[in-house]
């Protein structure tokens, strides 16, 4: 179920980008042509993160402390990356 949702997010992000580029050809500056492209890119970037979050939750539930700590640390590092980029 979770894996299907992650696969679906890939298709959704691609569909948004295809729509956005198509709309961009017609009206380059309209918000309804730029917003779908941005949204598609954000969904694309969130998909690998969602995989790590889901894996972390599963390791916690299974009591695998080492793997849970590893995935948690990865998420912290990515948050640090996002913070670095926003400055």
């Amino acid at each position: 179920m979770t894996e299907r949702a992650l696969v679906a997010s890939g298709y959704v992000s691609t569909a948004l980008m295809v729509y956005g580029i198509g709309a961009h050809v017609w009206r380059p500056d309209a918000y309804w042509s730029t917003a779908p492209v941005y949204l598609g890119l954000v969904i694309l970037m969130l998909t690998p993160l969602a995989r790590v979050v889901i894996a972390c939750a599963r390791y916690v539930r299974e009591g695998d402390r080492v793997s849970a700590a590893l995935t948690g640390a990865i998420l912290l590092m990515i948050a640090a990356s996002a913070w670095t980029g926003s400055r």
Partner: protein, 275 residues
């Protein structure tokens, strides 16, 4: 820096994305290693913006590769997360230094890395890491079924080398807009006891996370051109789906030779057009 994206540039980027995605899908790489030279040398996109576009395509390729059922059966998630921790740390350092390094230095670094990996892949093309099924794979190793349906066991050797390589790969990923798989896969396969197929799909899974950390930085700094990135991502998704379909039928030795040849060509192209 580019501020406007012409239709012809978007179209050519999309077509380049198809080729990059096909090669990436066949070889278990992100495709950034092919796309960056095309964007910079062929289409005149400045290096930082080409890197930002490439990182988004690496995420797309990773999503396609790691979601395929055949790949999910082989991925070593535990090892992948251990290596990814160092890769993300390297990527974080790379994002800080990226803006301090000149385009010429980046291109020379890229070229040298590609030439080294090409030679390594070619020299170790007949190397195999498959152990008898009865052997204990250890904490970080694993088992999987090969194409013939036989159970293959592998153990991870030289873990510190694998960790150090992951850190370097993460650093290069953010600096050069590649997923880092092109560095990790040859080293994991040649020296760390990991079969080519496991190294490729585990790396394919990891590069999406690595590229995300880098892409967020470029997005935050306003260096990502959304239209160009979207065109490249659409192309890469088409290409990687095709590449995965055809590459899955090829023997590992042939894939290694193809990888070595492509890396050598990329290295030559980059070094021949230094500014």
């Amino acid at each position: 820096m580019l501020t406007e994206v012409s239709y012809s540039l978007a179209l050519l980027t999309g077509l380049s994305g198809i080729l990059a995605g096909a090669l990436g899908g066949m070889l278990g790489l992100g495709g950034g290693v092919f796309l960056v030279p095309v964007l910079v040398q062929g289409l005149g996109v400045p290096m930082p913006q080409a890197v930002a576009v490439s990182l988004t395509t690496v995420i797309a390729t990773s999503n396609v590769l790691s979601a395929s059922p055949s790949a999910r059966a082989v991925i070593n998630l535990r090892l992948g997360f251990l290596l990814e921790l160092l890769t993300v740390a390297g990527g974080l350092l790379g994002s800080i230094t990226a803006l301090l390094v000149t385009q010429r230095t980046l291109m020379i670094t890229f070229s040298v890395v590609m030439a080294t990996m090409s030679a390594l892949t070619f020299l170790r093309r007949d190397h195999r890491n498959n152990l008898p099924a009865a052997i204990d794979p250890g904490r970080w190793g694993g088992r999987f079924e090969d194409d013939a349906g036989q159970l293959v066991t592998y153990q991870v050797k030289r873990l510190p080398l694998a960790l150090a390589t992951s850190f370097v790969a993460g650093n290069l990923s953010t600096l050069l807009g590649i997923g880092g798989g092109v560095v990790k896969v040859p080293v994991l396969n040649a020296w760390c006891g990991i079969p080519m197929r496991v190294a490729a799909v585990t790396s394919a899974f990891m590069i999406g996370v690595t590229a995300t950390s880098g892409a967020l930085v470029y997005l935050g700094r306003g260096l990502l051109l959304p239209t160009l990135a979207a065109a490249a991502v659409i192309g890469v998704r088409i290409g990687s789906t095709l590449g995965l379909r055809f590459g899955g039928r090829w023997p590992a030795r042939r894939l290694k030779i193809l990888l070595a040849v492509v890396l050598a060509l990329v290295s030559i192209l980059m070094i021949s057009r230094l500014p």
